[in-house]
C-alpha cells in the first residue's frame, strides 16, 4: 500500500499535536502554515534575533509553548513531517489544495485533510472603529509578543472575553500605559457562569488574580458609545459605566475584541455542514467528538470548537487518532483525551456565557456607523438592503456588499447578521443564514495563478 497523503493546515497547538500523533504512527504528514515558525497565534514566536525568554513571552503557559515548539521543530528537523511555513491554502476542491507561498503557487493532493485553522478575534463594530489606531485585541497581543511593541502610547482596551484581561496585564507588565479596560459583560453574568469556570480552578483563579492586578482600570458592564479620532488617529473612547454615567477616556490606540470567531472558510470549501451555536453566537462546523467532518476531512482546535490552546492540543491528537483508525492503522487510546475534551468544553461554554457577544449593542448601532471596515458599508445600508432584498445573509452581501470586501466578512458577518435579523423580524442572528465561503480565502496575486512553482 502506498503511504496515504495527509495534509494538516495550521501549525498551532492543534496542528502540532496532530502532526506528532501521525508521525508517531510512522506517517509523514505535510503541514502547511502561514507563520514563519510553528506555534500558531497563541504560541507565536518572534523572528530570529529577538531575545526575550519564553517566560516573558508566554507567562504561565511558557512550558506548554516550549514543549510544542520543541516537538514540532524536532519532527521537521528529522524529516518526519514536511513543513511548509509562510504558505496559505487559498482554495480546495476534489482532494486538492491550492497553496500559495512567497515564490508562487502549487497544487497539493491529499487523501486525508486535517484542518486546524484556529480563530480570529470576534469583532463588534463601534462607531469610529475604522480610524487608524483601532486594532483587534489579538493584534495588540501579537505586536507585543512577536515585535515587542505597544500599538500606542495610551491604550484603551474594550470588548469582552479572557483576552481582554490577559492582554491588559501583559501590556502593563511590559511597560505600556493602559488608560482603561472596558468590559461589556456585566458582573452578574460573570458570577453566574462561575460553576462552569470552576471546572478548571487554576485557570479561573489566574483570571481573578489578573483582574485584581488591573484594579480601578477595569470596568464591567459598560456600554461603548463611540471612538473619537482626527485624521492622524484615535483621540478618545466615549462609553457609559455600569451606572449609566457618560464617560470619555483620552487615548491614542484602542484594542477591541469579543472573544474569538472560528476560522472556518476552508472547512466550508471542504463541504462541512454548519450549525449556528447559540452559546458561542456564531456558525460552527459539524463534526463528531473526534473531529470527523466526513469525506476524509477532520477538524481540530478553535476552528471547530473555541476551547482555547489546551483544548486545541487535545483536539489535534483526537483528529489524528480518528484519521489513523479510519485508515485501518493502529491508533492511540483516546479515552483520557475525550474525557478532557468534555471538561474543557464545559469551561469554554462557561466563558462564552460569562463574556457574551454584545448583540444588543450591535442592534442599537446608529445608521451612520461603519459596519464593514473593508468598504465602509454602514449599518444603515445593511438595514436598507435587508428591507429591500430580504433577510438572508448572502442576499444582503450580493446586493449591498456587506461581507464582499477583502476580509470576506470575517469581521462584519456576525454584526451584519444581527441587523439583518432585526430588520427581518427574526429572533436570532442564526436565522439569517451563513455567508458561504468563497475561494480564494486569502487574496492572491494574479501572478500566483499564472506561474506555478
Amino acid at each position: 500500500m502506498t503511504e496515504p497523503r495527509i495534509v494538516i493546515v495550521g501549525a498551532g497547538p492543534a496542528g502540532i499535536r496532530a502532526a506528532e500523533t501521525l508521525a508517531a504512527a510512522g506517517l509523514r504528514p505535510t503541514v502547511i502554515d502561514e507563520g514563519a515558525k510553528a506555534g500558531g497565534q497563541i504560541y507565536r514566536r518572534p523572528p530570529d534575533g529577538f531575545t526575550r525568554p519564553p517566560a516573558t513571552l508566554y507567562g504561565s503557559q511558557a512550558e506548554k509553548a516550549v514543549a510544542l515548539h520543541g516537538v514540532f521543530d524536532g519532527l521537521a528537523a528529522a524529516g518526519r513531517i514536511v513543513h511548509l511555513p509562510r504558505h496559505s491554502v487559498a482554495a480546495l476542491a476534489d482532494g486538492t489544495l491550492h497553496v500559495v507561498g512567497d515564490s508562487g503557487s502549487r497544487w497539493i493532493g491529499y487523501d486525508r485533510l486535517i484542518l486546524a485553522t484556529g480563530a480570529t478575534d470576534r469583532l463588534a463594530p463601534v462607531p469610529g472603529w475604522q480610524a487608524p489606531g483601532v486594532y483587534s485585541l489579538g493584534a495588540m497581543q501579537i505586536a507585543l509578543k512577536a515585535q515587542g511593541v505597544a500599538m500606542g502610547r495610551r491604550i484603551v482596551l474594550a470588548g469582552s472575553g479572557p483576552l481582554l484581561t490577559l492582554l491588559a496585564t501583559q501590556l502593563l507588565k511590559a511597560g505600556a500605559q493602559i488608560a482603561a479596560v472596558l468590559d461589556t459583560a456585566g458582573m452578574r453574568g460573570q458570577i453566574a457562569a462561575f460553576p462552569d469556570l470552576a471546572v478548571r480552578p487554576s485557570f479561573a483563579l489566574q483570571g481573578l488574580a489578573m483582574r485584581a492586578r488591573l484594579g480601578r482600570l477595569y470596568h464591567a458592564g459598560i456600554g461603548l458609545e463611540g471612538i473619537e479620532a482626527t485624521e492622524t488617529g484615535v483621540t478618545a473612547v466615549r462609553w457609559t459605566d455600569a451606572g449609566g454615567r457618560s464617560r470619555r477616556t483620552a487615548c491614542d490606540a484602542v484594542g477591541l475584541g469579543w472573544h474569538l470567531k472560528a476560522e472556518t472558510q476552508l472547512a466550508d470549501l471542504a463541504g462541512c455542514r454548519f450549525d449556528y451555536d447559540a452559546t458561542w453566537s456564531q456558525w460552527l462546523p459539524c463534526a463528531d467528538r473526534m473531529g470527523r467532518a466526513g469525506d476524509g476531512v477532520y477538524l481540530a482546535g478553535d476552528g471547530l470548537r473555541l476551547l482555547g490552546a489546551d483544548g486545541a492540543e487535545v483536539a489535534g491528537r483526537l483528529a489524528a487518532a480518528a484519521c489513523l483508525s479510519d485508515l485501518g492503522l493502529p491508533a492511540p487510546d483516546t479515552a483520557a483525551d475525550l474525557k478532557r475534551l468534555d471538561r474543557l468544553e464545559r469551561f469554554a461554554r462557561g466563558i462564552a456565557r460569562a463574556f457574551p457577544w454584545p448583540a444588543d449593542q450591535v442592534r442599537a448601532l446608529s445608521d451612520d456607523t461603519v459596519l464593514c471596515r473593508c468598504e465602509g458599508i454602514t449599518a444603515g445600508s445593511v438595514r436598507e438592503t435587508a428591507a429591500y432584498g430580504g433577510a438572508e445573509a448572502n442576499r444582503v452581501k450580493s446586493l449591498g456588499r456587506a461581507g464582499m470586501g477583502r476580509c470576506q466578512g470575517r469581521y462584519c458577518q456576525l454584526a451584519a447578521a444581527e441587523l439583518i435579523a432585526v430588520t427581518g423580524g427574526l429572533v436570532h442572528a442564526g436565522e439569517v443564514g451563513r455567508l458561504r465561503a468563497q475561494a480564494p480565502v486569502r487574496p492572491m496575486p494574479i501572478r500566483a495563478l499564472l506561474e506555478e512553482d
Binding site: 518572534p46 529577538f50 480570529t120 483587534s136 489579538g138 505586536a143 515585535q147 500606542g152 492622524t232 465602509g376
Partner: protein, 102 residues
C-alpha cells in the same frame, strides 16, 4: 499628517537589533532587523495608507493576515501585506499609489 506627529507604535522591548534603512514615500527611514513592514512604518509615521472607501487613513487592524487592511505599495509595483512581510534593507515602500500609473 506631518513629520512632527512621529510614529504610532512604542518599542517596549527587543531594541538591540541591527538597524535597517528603507524608503517610505521617497524619504529614508530606519527600522530594526526582524521588524515587520507594519512595525517599520508605524514606528515612523501614524498610518500605512489611505482608505479606498472612506476619508480616513488606515494603520492595520488584525496583524494576523486575516483582515487585509494593511496592504501597501512598493515603488516597483507589487503590493505587500505589511503585517506579515519582514522589512528588508533598501525596500522602497509607498503609502499611496503612484499617480503616474495608468
Amino acid at each position: 499628517m506631518t513629520e512632527a506627529t512621529g510614529g504610532r507604535l512604542v518599542r517596549l522591548a527587543e531594541t538591540v537589533r541591527q538597524p535597517i534603512r528603507f524608503l517610505l514615500d521617497g524619504v529614508e527611514r530606519t527600522a530594526l532587523s526582524g521588524d515587520t513592514v507594519l512595525t517599520a512604518i508605524l514606528t515612523n509615521v501614524p498610518a500605512l495608507r489611505q482608505a479606498e472607501f472612506g476619508p480616513e487613513r488606515r494603520a492595520g487592524f488584525c496583524l494576523m493576515g486575516a483582515c487585509q487592511d494593511c496592504w501597501i505599495w512598493q515603488e516597483q509595483g507589487p503590493r505587500l501585506r505589511a503585517c506579515s512581510t519582514p522589512v528588508a534593507d533598501g525596500m522602497r515602500l509607498q503609502t499611496r499609489t503612484r499617480e503616474d500609473w495608468p
